[in-house]
Amino acid sequence: MAFFDRKNCASPDDLADETLNRVARRLEEQGSITDATPAQFCYITARYIFLEYLRRAEHRELALDELSASPEAHDQTQPAGEPDEGQLRERRMECLERCLQSLENASREMIVRYYRGEQRAKIDNRRALALQLGITLNALTIRACRVRDKLEMCVSKCVAAHG
């Protein structure tokens, strides 16, 4: 999904699903994939799907500039029936708080401590946290990234569910 999103595709989730579907179909048809590693095969499939996406007539006009200049990107008005920005922000914060509470204690404490502090203090804080957990700074960063992703997904689902 990150691959398609970085390519500024309009529906990176759908394209990622399509990629996985095609890989699964190929496995069903052939039984195994021998000409590439699974990850490489996924990448190749994703690349083909991206090229198809570009070739499709309805997406060819949406260049990067058009996408950034699209009404959806900078719409100042509020669509009817949808919550205003203030309400949305309130809901996001509520969802964030709820999602934070739903984390395991260790993960919650880790992610809060990871982002505590400013600049130099933040770096020192992270080093101390890595030392306390008995892991490298790199491993801590990866761990924090995963918890953050989990939080983001949780908040996104929560906002959508209440939206």
Binding site: A2, Y43, R92, E94, S156
Partner: protein, 333 residues
Amino acid sequence: MKIEDYDDQTLVLYVLGSLAADQAESIDQLSVIDEDFASRVETIEADLIDAYVAGQLSGRTLEDFTSRYLASPRRRERVAFATDFQKMLAGAAFTSQGLNAASLESQSNSPDSHVASFHRNRAGRWSPAARWALAAAALALVFLGAWIALTNARLNADIRRAREQQTALVRTAEELRREIDEMRSAGSEKEKELESLRQRLAQVQQQQQAQGSGVRQQTDVPNILSFLLTPQTRGINQPPQLSLAAAVDYVTLQLDLEPVDFTVYRAELKTAGGQVAWRSGRLRAKRDGAGRALHITVRAGLLKSGRYSIIAYGIASDGNSEPVGTYNFTVVR
């Protein structure tokens, strides 16, 4: 190119979409097939978002971020999450860039109520029962601390008293030991005197037997003369006269004591010239009517005609002697 050939700055450009196509494609492939590399790119992207929200981006990086990165709705959502998350962690402190990231579509003038409501929610999470329980626990701790302090002070005072009592007992034991030693030495002196009297008696009996006559009409016991002496006063009275017959063997002198506070005494017999003719051992005063008196016995042979003085000394607990009375008398033979 290998993974290690891509430094952080290159990956920032990749995330911003500012990299050349061939380099970007290479990184695309690596980020799909290599999990660690994908994590690294994701971390750089998260740090970039946080830097933008904190207002730390500038120049070309800021331009590319706002024009390219924020072109995607999904990435705008990521920035909104980062803004909310930083607000939650840091309270109400956020930059104008963060505000823009949170609401790209509009500039809101409404107060930042969600942070306030977040803190209200956090404060309201403590139920009244929990707050009362916490207050009760704190009060109980205070009382416990005070009780421990008082008990400690009382125990210290008890220990101090016990030590003082122990010291006093040790001192008393030392005094008693000293008195016992003195009594033993006095007792041994008395024994010596008794032995001497026995020997004298035996001699007399032998002489009697040798002479074959019973000169003495009295019993065979030594002839003892008793005399009472009172302490010398400032008066001009003559000292008492002691007539001493040749047949007297011993003279027992009763020395009336002034009211003094000693339990152990000693006495010295001095001649008119100040020489000490005789010394006693440790003596104890005996009740004599309303007062107390010392009783000393000296051999009559020591007393020639002349003036004598007996000086009585009280012995203090530290062993020092203090004169308590002088008894003058004259011996006439």
